[in-house]
Amino acid sequence: MMERAEYRRGRLVSFLTALTLIFLVAPLVVLLMQSFTAESYLAFPPASYGIRWYRHIFSDDEWQRAILLSLGIAATVTPLSLGFGTAAALALDRGPLRGRRAFYTVLISPMILPGVVLGLGILRVFLWLDLTDRFLGFALAHLTITIPYAVITVGASLASFDRSAEEAARSLGASPWRAVWHVTLPMIRPGLVGGGIFAFITSFDEFIITYFLATYHLTLPIQIFNSLSYQLDPSIAAVSGLTIMITALLTTVLVFRGQVASGGRVLR
């Protein structure tokens, strides 16, 4: 009797899950398909397919500038956030226990607080520092909201890290720094890769804070946003499709590299 109930419940859960997964993934698939339309208007399903609009965005000055700016900021911010974040995570992991919680909360706060509030404050400060609408300003703002990801993923890796390999290295003559560099960091690579990918994507997709800071130099999300009001054509779909493909690639790398490198421990 119980087995049947279990079976029924199992089916219910599977059904609901399938629905939800479709809900999650379908819109993106729709968009991806839409981006390959050869028509000059947005209509789903596309009457004909082609890469016309991808070619368009890669030859259009405005789109090109926006894509390059977003990529440039993300590429700059990612290694920096990994550096800052790993340093912070190490300090928390190896440092004294008191205050660890507090420091950790402060470190990840920029990720949790509403971007609107941060954008407001950062704009005000950057107006004084003349950092608005500039690459440096964007980078610093993005860095602030990406460091939390590095702290979290690297911190998690460090927490489950078996220190005896590091101690073995130290007993063999490596100073604490050389031990971390040669042994610990390579061994927590999944955490580093994960943090890096989250950082990249967060920066690439960031809208609200950048919106506060930008006037003439537009990142890709802002460009898309503006286009929605005056240029509702498939180039938006193409650009969005491009973003989806980049992030899908990175996600696969994230999940599979992370899975393999950690021996599947997380999911077992």
Binding site: S164, A168, R170, S171, L172, A174, S175, P176, R178, M187
Partner: protein
């Protein structure tokens, strides 16, 4: 020549005293084991010597130099962990070469020494493999090679064979002993396995609750334990409580229930209470009628345990005391044939038992 010495070393973690005033001197080329139950402070002591912890009190010296303030990477010590602690992202060869790399040894010399170390632990041909491709025993050998290649002044091993199968463990124990003798390497070994300690050590230091209970040769510790804890940790024992009834020429007669025993006992007084310790292998059983006397009495076999290479008997004496007796399974008439419920002669040799002082007897 003292290679390593600890003087009054203590380590406090907050209110907890993990190591309480340990003093120990290890001679060059000697194999000493720190033996004790979990939580006795042996691993903490090892980590103090390795440099991962700083002593709260006391001094540690190696070859005459005080090292308490030296960081681990400047003490010439080789470490082997129970979890192997190999670098998973490096090949076997790179693992072994790590210490040489840190010391700036490069090129041909590095290659040669790595090869020699792998030869020493009999791991030829696996140099380019990764740790995850190796068995537990092979990994432990790599760990050993890695520690030996830097020619350390001291080799520290923290329960290195704990994670291995019994057969493999025995094998590696023999290999380690052979290697250590050959290299004349000063070695400190930590374990909770008393049999392992006896097999490997020149001297054994037993620890309990942060203190050093006794240190000495395996034979002395086994046959002359200085406290009940040591006695019971080193092996099974029969404990009998009795009273001194007579003293003569350094020998005391002790009455312990049904048994009257004569044991060498200095500074005894008549009427004094003593606790006697008798190892099961020194209790002899014989089929046949019981003859009373010094060290003799009759008993009934309560249970028999067949352990393959030996047999253990529990014998009930007239006053209800249960004595444990162990005998090798030689197949001879005297031993075999003793079954449960049988009446037997119990015989305890004079030299087989000794006393624990009153206050240590627990």
């Amino acid at each position: 020549m003292t290679a390593v010495s600890l003087e009054g070393v203590a380590k406090r973690f907050g209110p907890v005293l993990a190591v309480d005033g340990i003093s120990l001197a290890i001679a060059k080329g000697e194999f000493v084991t720190l033996l004790g139950p979990s939580g006795c402070g042996k691993t903490t002591t090892l980590r103090l010597i390795a440099g991962f912890l700083r002593p709260s009190e006391g001094r540690i010296a190696m070859n005459g130099r005080h090292i308490e303030s030296l960081p681990p990477h400047r003490r010439e010590i080789g470490l082997v962990f129970q979890s192997f602690a190999l670098f998973p992202h490096m090949t076997v060869a790179d693992n072994v070469a790590f210490g040489l790399r840190m010391r700036g040894v490069a090129g041909e010399e590095r290659r040669r020494r790595v090869g020699d170390a792998l030869d020493l632990v009999r791991l030829v041909g696996l140099a380019e493999s990764y740790p995850r491709q190796l068995s537990g025993g092979q990994q432990q050998r790599v760990a050993l090679a890695r520690a030996l290649v830097i020619r350390p002044q001291l080799l520290l091993l923290d329960e290195p064979f704990g994670a291995l199968d019994p057969q493999l463990r025995e094998h590696l124990q023999q290999e380690l002993k052979t290697l250590q003798k050959k290299l004349k390497l000063t070695t400190l070994f930590v374990t909770h396995d008393q049999a392992e300690a006896m097999l490997l050590s020149d001297r054994i230091a037993i620890m309990n609750r942060g203190k050093l209970e006794q240190i000495g040769w395996p034979k002395d510790i086994y046959e002359q334990p200085r406290s009940r804890f040591v006695a019971e940790f080193m092996g099974r024992s029969n404990l009998l409580h009795g009273k001194v009834t007579a003293i003569e020429n350094g020998f005391a007669q002790v009455e312990a229930g049904t048994l009257t025993l004569e044991i060498p006992l200095e500074k005894a007084r008549t009427g004094e209470s003593v606790t006697l310790l008798i190892r099961p292998e020194r209790v002899r059983l014989r089929r046949g009628p019981a003859v009373e006397g010094i060290g003799r009495c009759g008993g009934v076999v309560d249970s028999v345990f067949y352990l393959g290479s030996s047999l253990t008997y529990k014998v009930a004496l007239a006053d209800g005391t249960l004595l444990q007796a162990t005998q090798s399974n030689t197949g001879e008439e005297g031993a075999s044939g003793i079954e449960q419920g049988m009446a037997v002669q119990v015989e305890i040799l004079q030299q087989a038992c000794f006393s624990l002082k009153g206050d240590e007897a627990g």
